[in-house]
Symmetry: C2
Subunit: 215 residues, 2 copies
């Protein structure tokens, strides 16, 4: 009924959507997976038939209750494995994500819960993302929406894409990093970071995936 491909779609839909109600355009999934429009469309139809998603043609997909539950369980597994990899095996946080993408498909409910116990029921993954079932308590907003004040802190990086992670790593940015926001531009966000006085332009691609808050 449910296989790895479908789980990957579920996870992507959950992470890429802006909120619970607004449908996620298929074009976003297409870009995320780098699959063709046709392939994404086929898979979404299939998932709609299985009542994991509701498909609104020309608008996008939303998760059904079943779909959301499955996505949350998946995300929990994913983030617990990330914690295991970083905390117990000292794998760098940007690598842990990729490995967890494979492990998340290969662990039963029981194993997952025992893993959570072993790790001391952690509340956050190494990227700062909440570990479900507490996703609803989510704080912050994407950096490209931040209008609050000049200063904010990175809460988490989502969704995690290899080149975004690499770039953030180069910039020395991660959960907890302080960012001084100068202004929003149509192509991204002007910021100052660390001890640099030179402003840096973070392209939308990055700016939209870094979740920040004022504290």
């Amino acid at each position: 009924m449910m296989n790895e491909s479908m789980e990957d779609y579920l996870g992507a839909i959950y992470r890429l959507r802006s909120d619970r109600e607004t449908p996620l355009p298929l074009s976003q999934l297409q870009e995320f997976f780098e699959f063709s429009r046709v392939s994404v469309h086929e898979m979404i139809q299939k998932m709609a038939r299985q009542e994991l998603v509701i498909y609104h043609p020309y608008y996008g997909v939303t998760l059904t209750d079943t779909g959301e539950k499955a996505a949350l369980a998946l995300l929990r597994r994913h983030r617990l494995w990330e914690r295991f990899l970083t905390d117990m095996l000292a794998v760098p946080w940007d690598e842990a994500h990729k490995i967890a993408c494979r492990l998340e498909h290969a662990a039963s409910e029981k194993v997952t819960e025992r893993l959570a116990g072993l790790l001391g029921e952690p509340q956050e993954c190494p990227h700062g993302g909440p570990i479900p079932p507490t996703e609803s308590l989510q704080r912050g907003e994407p950096l490209n929406h931040f209008k609050g004040g000049a200063e904010c802190f990175i809460l988490r990086i989502a969704p995690e894409r290899p080149h975004v992670l690499r770039r953030l790593h180069e910039l020395g940015l991660g959960p907890g990093s302080k960012i001084h926001v100068i202004n929003q531009t149509p192509t991204g966000t002007q910021v100052k970071i660390g001890k640099d006085h030179q402003p840096i332009h973070l392209p939308m691609e990055i700016s939209a995936t870094v979740w920040v808050d004022t504290h």
Copy 2:
């Protein structure tokens, strides 16, 4: 180049073969996987083309050096995950095997070695099988070949099949268990176990997969 199916075949060939030289008949693989003759044949041809195995028509397959190396790496991953599951997550040893079958495909060399470190470089899996690269130091022989004396001890169970594990579990047998061998029969082995005075007949299927030694 190498995917999960092929890894499963490599693992099966490594575990089912009696020794390094004697080819493993394809019928054994067919029976193990419960695949059709044609499917097994196709896959073996493919693996032969990739020089993972040498195929001797009408006799069977042997692993090439490359194939054996890959099989050993796989077995190491498998058994380390088993140890992790039993030692750190308290998963019963007969369940651990099944879960490890999925995890073994999803761990890089690096993660595997860190896992080995975390577990304290264990030398044996929970079933008593040596964790490669020390497989060469393998002791014992299958119970159905045991002619030594009346008494022997279970070293390990190999290859692990669900119903064999279940049956052994029912009998209270595992690595270290003492077995009193009465005699070998064409269909299996007559034994006495535990405090029972009544002899029990272990069918060949089980008798051939339990490795024993006198100490």
